[in-house]
Subunit: 219 residues, 2 copies
Amino acid sequence: MTLDHDSVRERVLTLAEEAIATDGHEGLKARGIAQAAGISVGTIYNLFEDLDGLRLQVNSRLMDRLEAVAAGVLRDLAAKHETDARISLLALARAYVGFVETHGRSWTAMLAFNRQVDTASMPDWYLARQDQLFEIIGDILKTTSFMADATTRRTASRALWSGVHGIVTLGYRRTETDDWAAETWAQVELLVTAFVAGLHHIDAAGTVRDLTGNSDGGA
Amino acid sequence: MTLDHDSVRERVLTLAEEAIATDGHEGLKARGIAQAAGISVGTIYNLFEDLDGLRLQVNSRLMDRLEAVAAGVLRDLAAKHETDARISLLALARAYVGFVETHGRSWTAMLAFNRQVDTASMPDWYLARQDQLFEIIGDILKTTSFMADATTRRTASRALWSGVHGIVTLGYRRTETDDWAAETWAQVELLVTAFVAGLHHIDAAGTVRDLTGNSDGGA
DNA sequence: GCACATTTTGAACGTCGTTCAAGTTCTTTT
DNA sequence: AAAAGAACTTGAACGACGTTCAAAATGTGC
């Protein structure tokens, strides 16, 4: 009847994932998890430091899933020998929109948690886990010719990724209307397309090189 | 000693603003506000439906402030007869970054609230208040020549605004490092500049018109 | 001064995260 | 196999939270 330590921990984690996926960030209750797992409340605090520690693990797993999806997209792109940054980024963005569509509650729960908890009190491995997501886009931009500089590439990666993220999460509503996905995707598509197209006309210093035919700025 | 109804309500609102500005979304407690205002907890529930109703008002005021800042920027731009969308949008974005810099806690508290509460249970006036913010950018894009179509302009407004929002809020950390503002601004500047530059090379259908010299997409 | 309506009060309710002494189970030693 | 020690589990208890509502206090019209 009794399970070993790791199995119980695993079960608690899964139940926590389900609770958050169903009821969001506030849906995770110590007593609820304990009852569902057939253990007492105290045991949860033996397996995890506290509920936030449990949330840390749940969120980490969610990021793992997103990264797995992204890795799949990158694999497909590589198999097709796709080198166009615009097409690659659009494929990645589409995957991200789909991810939020299926894991919406969990994803917003994670974002709510990240905001609620002070960055200083987050463990280093968790912060590193977050930063790792940015490198996915950075890798794509690396393969393109127009973004050779590492600093600029980093700025561009974070700008684009955060931008797509902003569209997806700001537009996301719990009540799922039919037009949400369409409208969100239209915005994402435009942002990615215009951003990538615009990068070709900007030099490393950030000044516009070729906008309307006139040269702009300059000493 | 006793104040009239409106004064008390005003005082509670101000105290609620201060509590949220200091301690964030979770910092607003019924008993805390009651004690600070010199009233009993029950009275709060007479002035507002519940704490979320109070938060609604606080957030609405915060949006008012942002809009006032934006209106000031637009006034300055109009005074200078500025017609360049890029320059106008950069000025607006800079103002937004500054706004989040000074009202960070309150702003993230609002975002946390908006996510936590189901959209369906939000009053119409609150949802309308949110949508109104998008129109600021829409108005700027309207003055430019390349975005005549209302639908495309709406998409572009929301994409850009959400994109900037994503950069600012995703990058915002409670512990304010010196480089946060610089890094955030570098990303915002790049996003706005590249996005606007890119819009010139995209037709209404969203396909790239002039990217690298080759025409792309087709029939 | 009286009757009625309105507002304020704060004790009380249920729920939450978290703790910890006491009870139980596993491990090691003899 | 028994005893001793370590490690884990338990659930009642604590303080804090949002919210309610009968009772008290205040305001209003006559």
